[in-house]
Symmetry: C2
Subunit: 257 residues, 2 copies
DNA sequence: CGATAAGTTGAACTGGCTCAAGTCATGTGG
DNA sequence: CCACATGACTTGAGCCAGTTCAACTTATCG
């Protein structure tokens, strides 16, 4: 069964500059420069075409728009194309507990796979776009493309490890270590996307960061001020510069990398 | 392609009492009474036979024995047959951070799928046994049995949700809520296995519980004493009786179930 | 039975929280 | 395009839940 050449032709008709821009909503998986972070990695070109057929590409969202809501039926997973997103749950007391930060190339929505219901909500932190992949189609395609199944198993495995790292961070480390770790995490993920590892804009507010890290917003603010006083980072509201990454790693108690 | 009848014959030759006992190491997946919690659920009987062929069944371990170690190559996932296990990581400072508690019917080792290396270690908390499922065989079989693929996706999804719940618990709740939640979690899991939901033995020490919940062992001890004084639980060392589950749920701030 | 690990309880200390009062950024409507 | 409202952020002061340290009791097991 040959796949339709539609996506290829489309890509061929678009000038290269536009094609290579991942913010262009019509760019297909094979041409998306986030492909190497996202699902297509580990697939050969004919497989990517088949994946392309089930992907709903490039829908746009504004800040505050929901990708899905807690309790909603799980239908799709979402690949972030541009912008940034957070996931959160609403606690018994009605407070918001941030459970994840997602940047371009990362996959959201896997929290719905286990029970067919999303266990949390996902909203855009700024203007952004994403690809939607209906899960039943992905499952079906995965039985026919073993490397896709393997890729997705691995992706879910990484999500598990990521969540456990977060758990370890929050349950055993001091507030300063948690903040330092978050900064290093964002830095590393930017680096993977060929963006600056030392200058970036925090997509979350102090309150969101605090919720994510299990501290209050005041503590986050105080830690930023302290790290700035120690010349480890420069903080200008949401604009961050990592001045001394080694010192930051020491504070985060990270030795590897 | 018919599967070998070996496992079936084996089961047929064993008296029912032995067959139905999940601690009997030779019981096959189709006869294991943990099957409904474990991988076989969602498979029909011929599919279970094919699964049976790749499962290494019923190996036994003593307290303190390792199932796998942090950093080790990932080869298999493990289904707990009897006993209880913990997973943990060793932090930079050499301290042990408990990341999970596993009871019969539950699957361990999924932390290795993402990177082909186990991100933590797993040890037996008491005498126990398990089934080992080589992951490459499971993957291969999953491409041929869609319902097995689906089952495993769902299992990984549940692991993700479980880890996120733990994160939420640790990052937003008071120590007493965390302890209460752990007791309720064990109670619920016992209930699923048709064991007492109100009387059980804690498989972990106070130090392990504390590490898992992100508090000190002294705090765990004090909370047990306090809950006992309030007639919510009865604590006799590791032996626990849940006296007033409703009160415990109120303390844990759980409203559903 | 004795050694060692596990658990309890008390007392003092402290990191992060709460509450409060302010400044700064952002964006919306007049 | 400015003014003003609202949300985001900072900083200070006092407080408290949980930690730390310590002394002791109780289990467990070779």
């Amino acid at each position: 069964m040959k796949s339709t050449p539609k996506a290829v032709n489309l890509a061929k008709d678009i000038p290269y500059a536009a094609r290579s821009c991942h913010t262009n909503p019509s760019v297909s998986c094979g041409d998306c420069r986030l492909g190497e972070l996202c699902l297509p990695i580990a697939l050969d070109s004919s497989e990517i075409l088949r994946l392309d057929e089930i992907v709903k590409r490039g829908r746009a969202l504004n800040k505050g728009d929901f990708l899905y809501r807690e309790g909603e039926e799980f239908k799709s997973i979402f690949a972030i194309r541009s912008g940034s997103f957070k996931t959160f749950k609403t606690t018994h007391e009605g407070a918001e507990q941030v459970t994840g930060l997602f940047l371009p190339g990362e996959i959201m929505g896997m929290d719905g796979i286990g029970s067919n219901k999303h266990s949390g909500s996902a909203v855009a932190l700024e203007t952004g776009s994403f690809c939607e992949i209906p899960f039943h189609l992905l499952e079906e395609l995965s039985t026919r493309i073993p490397s896709l199944q393997g890729r997705f198993f691995r992706l879910m495995g990484q999500e598990i490890v990521k969540d456990q790292q977060m758990l370890t961070l929050v349950s055993s480390n001091a507030a300063e270590e948690r903040v330092a770790s978050l900064l290093l995490s964002i830095s590393k993920r930017n680096h993977r996307r060929k963006l600056s590892a030392t200058h970036f804009r925090l997509p979350m507010t102090r309150a969101e960061i605090g919720s994510y890290l299990g501290v209050t917003l005041e503590t986050v603010s105080r830690i930023f001020s302290r790290l700035q006083k120690q010349n480890v980072v420069k903080v200008d509201n949401k604009e961050i510069e990592l001045v001394d990454i080694q010192a930051l790693k020491r504070i985060a108690k990270v030795h590897e990398d």
